[in-house]
Each structure stands twice: as structure tokens, then as C-alpha cells.
């Protein structure tokens, strides 16, 4: 199971995938990468334990990436994404950031746990990875619409 694969065609859509900095849960990451590839995406999979800086570096290498997709299972999403606001303010991560997994510590999740992640600059929070393709489509359409208006 290689961590990156070659773009298949001209029109290939690229996404950057990874697991948050302190987090080594990898199974969902493997499966999501497979599922997106099966749908034709070029997946730059950074794997587990990926700090924000590594996502920005990958984005610099792949400026065509439509989105950065981050998984966090161990409950540490908030601490692991502390550098996200600065990175975004500096324009080093100017594509949508999608986050999913188990996003806070404990068995009782509160809406505040989600809210503070949005405030860090996460654009979309998903629970079901099956929704990823549709979400990516929608984000791209929105971006295209925005670009059309802007140009």
C-alpha cells in the first residue's frame, strides 16, 4: 500500500490526505485513500502523524490540490491543528480543509468540540467518509463559481 500514486490522466483531481500530528490511527486512512483512488482521485497520502507544516509543504508541492483531508481519531484534533490559523492566514493552505474522525476526547461529544475546530479554520467537518466524493464535488463547484465571478 504505497503512500502516493502517479496521476492517471490529465483531468485527474488531486487531494492531499493525512492523519493529524499526534495521531497514528491508520486504518481509516488506508481505506479512504483506496476509496478515493477507486473514484479516480490522485491521492497524496501523507499517512499518520502529520503536522500542519507537512500538509502545507505538500500543498506547496501540489498547488492543484482541491482539498486537504485530515483524519483525527485519537481525540486530539484541536491541539494538533493549533497551527492551522497561522498557516491559513499566511496563505499557505488556500484550499478547503476537510476534517473527519473522532474529534474530541471522551464518549460524550459536544457541539462546542466541533465549533472550536471551525474557529481554527476547518471548512468542512464530516463523519462518514462515504460523503467525501460528493463533498469534494460540491466544493469544486463552489470554487469554480467563485472563480467565474472573480474573473
Amino acid at each position: 500500500m504505497r503512500h502516493e500514486d502517479a496521476p492517471q490522466a490529465e483531468q485527474t483531481r488531486t487531494v492531499i490526505l493525512g492523519v493529524a500530528a499526534s495521531d497514528s490511527h491508520v486504518v481509516a486512512n488506508h481505506l479512504i485513500a483506496h476509496a478515493l483512488r477507486a473514484r479516480g482521485f490522485h491521492v497524496v497520502n501523507l499517512g499518520t502523524c502529520t503536522p500542519v507544516a507537512e500538509f502545507t509543504e505538500a500543498h506547496a508541492e501540489h498547488p492543484e490540490a482541491e482539498a486537504v483531508i485530515i483524519g483525527s481519531l485519537n481525540g486530539h484534533a484541536y491541539e494538533d491543528l493549533q497551527e492551522l490559523p497561522v498557516a491559513r492566514a499566511q496563505g499557505r493552505l488556500d484550499c478547503p480543509v476537510i476534517l473527519g474522525g473522532n474529534l474530541s476526547v471522551g464518549s460524550n461529544k459536544e457541539s462546542a468540540d466541533i465549533e472550536r475546530l471551525r474557529q481554527l479554520g476547518v471548512d468542512v467537518i464530516l463523519s462518514d467518509p462515504e460523503l467525501l466524493p460528493a463533498t469534494l464535488d460540491e466544493l469544486r463547484e463552489r470554487a469554480l463559481a467563485r472563480d467565474t465571478v472573480a474573473s
Binding site: S22, S24, H76
Partner: protein, 457 residues
Amino acid sequence: MTDPVTPSEPPELPSLGESLSYVRELGKPTAAEVLHTARAEGRVALQPRCGVGSHAQMTTLLQDLERHAAPDILTLTIDSHTRLKRFDNARAALLRNPADLNGYPLVTHGWLRGRQLNEAVRAPLEVRHGSPDARLLFRTAVASGITSFEGGGISYNLPYSKAVPLTESLAAWQEVDALCGDLARRGLVVDRELFGTLTAVLVPPSISLAVSVLEAVAAAREGVKCISVAYPQGGHFEQDVAALRAVPALAARYLPEDVEVHAVLHEFMGVFPRERAHAEDLILYGALVARLGGATKLITKTYLEAYGIPDTRANIDGLLLASRANSPLLDFIQLDEERIGHERELILREVAEIVEPVLASGDLHKSIATAFEEGRLDIPFSASRYARSEVIPRRAADGAIRYFASGSLPFSARTRKLNEQGLESDDGTRIGDMVKGLTRDINHFLNVFGESPTIPS
């Protein structure tokens, strides 16, 4: 508690000698002694996972668990930042909101607080973590008077980090083991538990046990005298019992006689059912596997497993339910001994085929690192770049975990054939999308209980 969130200044670590006399004065049995007694009494010792960020709450958590469920050994589960030596992040989270931490940051709290925890309960403590390099954590644990320490140079690297070379983690764990050897010579046997659970999901028994054998050999060479071999319940009864029963044979074959070796079962570590009744069926099942497989110790789960770190009540309930497996009223249970014997033979052969070429070489560390590089050693779903994950496990129709692909593992033709046979009856699943099938296998217990999967299917 009026203690500040973190101690203002990390106290300097005491000498090994001072720690040794502290343990003696503590007046509680060591983890190794508790394990020894449990085995002698034919009981499965029970241990929860438990760790919260706040020192005050950690103290209460341990005390509540002890008061209501009296586990044989208590745990300090360490937070993920500390595991990866992200001590600054651990401190930041602790200052912001201790409840944001998924474990107890022992290094940040410091060994004096470790001693406070130790003194707050009767049971000995184990540190459970997942650190490729645990040297500082180990020293802090010893200074805290903690007599059991989990991990190993392979099992706490590959599932727990992305970019730490195996030679580095093996060297770091060699230091830990050497200190344990030192302590053993000075009269304190620290229980060293090896994390055969690995990435927990669909781990073929022989991969789990092969990694433990290699780590155990390395540890024994450094003078470790008490080794717990942890094995993750895979979900197939006879296979799991066989794996546990393989441990004594492996110890006899690969380890010096004066090392005490215990089999430890982790209640199912994969995707847990969400409904409480289903989760409890699985918890009881795991506990019965431990008893019937002759495990010395069981690490328990809770009915909140699918949701997140459990609250104290759920943790207590999980322990109490699991403790039913120690009931004196279950002697009526008989097993399919023939099938178990067959599985055990298969496991022992596979382990031998995997470890013996590695053990044959002179430099064990280098030989391990190279083998992983070349895929002669491998684990599925590696979190690390330093394993290939070309091994693909699948469930046979009866639920047993087999090698769908064994990558470059040095398996004999016979072993390969037996694994193929195991999957052969698995009609239908070899055809069609492999990932789909794999997902179904991962969601095994959801299927058993008719719960809907939450992943694409």
C-alpha cells in the same frame, strides 16, 4: 486538589537506587508478583485502560476503579503527545484544558505525582503508551515506583509513528530493557509487556506472536526477567485460544528458562459494536477467550469503545463483566480441542518460518530492520513507513484471520497453501473489490450483530 495543573518545575529524576528503595517501601506487590500469583491460582488477572489529563482526576479515576472493580493491575494510559515526545503540546493542552488530553502526561506531571498516584491505590501500576522512544517516560515511571512498562522497539514503533527508523526505536528500547536488566539484578523485576496487538485490526496471530518473539529475545538478552506477551483477540474462538496457548511453547523454544513469560489477551481491539448489549456480548466473549486460552492477564474494553474514551462507570462495568470469566461455575465448558490443536500447530509453524531466519543472523536489530525493509517481516496497516504492509489479511468464511496476501514473508509452500485453503471456502469474497471485502472483514462484529457499518461498503 489544590495542585497546579502542571508542576512549576519538573523535578529532577532520582537515582535508580533511590527508586528501588522507594518501591520496596511502597509495600505493594510488583506487577510481576501479581501475575505470578494469578497464574498460580489459575485466575485471569484483570486490567483496565485508563488515563486522563488532570492529575486530580487521574487520582480519582484510579481510586474509583479500584473501589468498585478491584482490578489486579491498574494502568496509566499516556496521552498521544507524550508518546511522540511532543511534550510542549502535552503541556499546552494540559494548561488549556486537561480534559483535551487522551491520556495522562506522566512526563509533564513528573515522577513525584507518579508516586502520588502509586500511593493512592493498592494495585501495582503499569504504564501503557505507544512510544517509539520511551526512555524519558521509562525513567519517570521507574522513579514513580511503577513496576510494569509496555512496549518494544517494533510494536511501539510501527503502529504508533510514521517516520522513526526501526534501528532508532530498537536502540531506544534496548536502553529500557537494559535498565530493566539492571533493576532485576538489583532485585526488582519489572514486567515488560510487549504490544503484540500492533495495529489491532485483522492482525494475523503469527504476525503478532512473531513480533513478540523477536522483542522478547531482544529483551531477554538485556536481562529482562518477566515478559508479558500481549495478543489481540481476533474474533475467531479456536484461533484466539490457539494463539494464547502457543505462547508457552514459543517461550520454551526461543527464551531462556529463567524468564517468566505470560500470555495477555486484549479484548477485541477492532471496530466495536455500538449498542451496549452487543458490546457487552463481545466483552464477555473476550474474557472467556482469555480464561479458556489460559491467559494470565486480560486488558478490558468497555461498552463505550465505539464512541470514545470511556467514563469511569463504563470502565468499571467492563471490568465487572469481564470478571465473570473467573467464575468457578464455568468448568462445564468444553472446547473443540482438535480444531484448537490444528490452529496452534499452524500458528507455531508460521511463527517459526517468520522469526527463525531473523534470529539466525548475528546482529538482531539490524536483521530486524533489514527484514522489514525487504518485507520478510511485515505488518498489515502499518502507521509507519518502515514496514511495507504488503501483507493483506482476510477473514475466512468461519471468521478466522488468514493471509490473503503474505507479501514477502518467508512462508513455506505448505503454509501458503493452508492459508489459501482457509480462505477457499470464503466463496465470493475473493472475487469483487478487495477493499470492500476487507472493510467487511474489519466490520466483522458489526455484521455479527446486524449493526450498520459507517464506512463505505
